[in-house]
Amino acid sequence: MIGKGILKGMAVTARNFVGSYFEKDRLITVQYPEERSPLPENYRNFPFLIYDDSDPHAGMRCVACKICEKECPPQCIYIVKSDDKKPDYMGKPQFYPKIFDIDISVCMSCQICVEVCPFEAIKMDKDFELSKRERFDSLLFRKEQLSKSNDYYHKIHPLEAAGVDKNLADAAAAAEAKKKAAAEAAAKAAAGAPASPSPA
């Protein structure tokens, strides 16, 4: 019978229309600014810089090694290394970025900077409400804008941040143990040297 297929299709449309009032599966949109669907843990948007504790300068993990600048596919990172050094989280004196700019109008959120960073200093943010009235300067994020605390990182990526903190703590503990072992060995050598019979 001609028209049977059309009637069948109409029945599907009716089922979906009525169903959208009762089944959550059929109505999946949310009224955005008031309602928000939660972002998944792995969501990524643009990179930001992490600092430990409360001072963005003293706690800055970035040591201006420029690996991310080199590896960034669209070349949106610009770094200038500092002239002086400051201690990092293990107390070792390191350089820090005097200038660290990310042009987020160029950034393509590929996360390669995060993968290549050996210092866990750059991570992906989740802030997506970034519309601006001006195209150039306001989309060029400076170091001050990019620096965010480790607490913020824990808030947006809880599982990942816990893993990173553990790795850093392990590395610091290993470095500490190595230092201690070296000091002990040095002390032993110092103690052992006079005891050994001197030639002649």
Partner: protein
């Protein structure tokens, strides 16, 4: 006067800003009344220099760019690129990563074909409704991609020798739930469109191509199989873990638009079968080969062509390495571009309204056609 105009053709430029051209694509058609007598496709409005950029960046740096080729199926694009680099540098991929790749590629196929069915109906004049139903299902799969890779469409998920993030058990359970429920959507969708007399009238015997012509033109994917040619790279090459799965290749008979439409609907069901087997077989393990360096990756001198069965056809990436961190030559064989070359042969003798339907059934994405 009127007799002098007899037989003259009217040239019309369809596009590039036509909503049914699926992007910025122009067709210069010569019309005799409503009938198409000549058709010249004009490409290149979305050219972004993809290959040259790939030659000027590191091997890893091209991975996020491949997402932007066919932005509906970034996972399969990633896989094609990863596969050719793995061939070039002889990299082994761990078992779990291979399973994850199969799962993600088949999920990509589900959402690509579902949205294609919606778009095709939209081209036929069924504005909105089928497309919205298809996009509702697609959104569930994109949510899976987002919770795994961090982005809905620009996944950038695969790496040489594995994948970037491991899938948690919750993720796999969620994906399984969506896959098991997918045929329910398909049953409903088939009720909506496939028996519809208007759809049948608009698609059957429209845009026919013969198997011989399709093979000679290098057509691949569902378009080739709609002509009855049994050629699927998942079976022919058996890349990844596809030989471990049992699935059938649906074949068409007439090579018309209706067959191409049906091919997508049938392939989704086979993909659901593959996915169910993959969920049953996947076991915990490492997801990335630890021998592959992230930075300063230099494959040995040589060349490699890696190809996969993308949702649109054979997606191949050809690489020549001269031992430096950048490829010497980087070439993409895009399925939708090559499938589009038969557009004139399919459209001649049909009306203007059919041209849109035929173009929709080719399944093109301009990001991949123009690169």
């Amino acid at each position: 006067m009127a007799s002098r105009l007899q037989g003259e053709l009217l040239e019309v430029s369809m596009g590039p800003q036509h909503p049914s051209t699926h992007g910025v694509f122009r067709m210069n058609v010569a019309l005799d009344g409503e009938i198409v007598r000549k058709l010249k496709p004009v490409f290149g409005y979305l050219h972004r220099n993809h290959e040259k950029i790939g030659e000027n960046t590191s091997y890893l740096g091209s991975m996020p760019s491949t997402d932007r080729l066919d932005y509906f199926c970034s996972m399969t694009n990633n896989w094609a690129y990863a596969l050719s680099v793995e061939k070039l540098a002889a990299i082994e991929v761990p078992e779990r990563a291979e399973y994850l790749r199969v799962i993600l590629a088949e999920l990509t196929r589900l959402q690509n074909h579902a949205s294609l069915l919606g778009f095709l109906l939209s081209d036929m004049g069924a504005w909105g409704t089928p497309l919205m139903y298809a996009f509702r299902e697609r959104e569930k799969i994109l949510d899976l991609f987002e919770s795994l890779s961090g982005s809905r469409m620009m996944c950038d998920y695969m790496r040489f020798g594995g994948c970037r993030v491991d899938a948690s058990d919750e993720w796999l359970a969620q994906a399984k739930k969506i896959v098991v429920r997918f045929p329910k959507f398909l049953d409903e969708f088939e009720d909506l469109i496939l028996g519809n007399e208007i759809v049948i009238g608009r698609t059957q015997n429209v845009g026919k191509i013969s198997a011989e012509l399709a093979i000679n033109a290098g057509i691949t994917g569902p378009m080739l199989r709609a002509c009855g040619v049994n050629y699927d790279i998942r079976k022919v090459d058996g890349y990844g873990f596809y030989p471990r799965f049992k699935f059938r290749i649906p074949l068409g008979d007439h090579g018309d638009t209706y067959d191409r439409l049906m091919m997508r609907a049938l392939e989704i069901r086979e993909s659901v079968d593959i996915l169910k087997q993959a969920f049953a077989q996947i076991a915990p393990g490492p997801i990335v080969n630890p021998k592959v360096k992230v930075r300063a990756f230099r494959p040995p001198v040589g060349e490699a062509y890696g190809r996969i069965e993308g949702p649109k056809g054979e997606l191949g990436i050809y690489l020549i390495s001269d031992g430096t961190p950048n490829p010497y030559r980087y070439r993409v064989r895009p399925p939708s571009f090559i499938n589009l070359t038969l557009l004139e042969d399919m459209c001649l003798g049909h009306t203007v309204a059919d041209v849109m339907v035929i173009l929709g059934s080719v399944d093109i994405v301009m990001g991949e056609v123009d690169r």
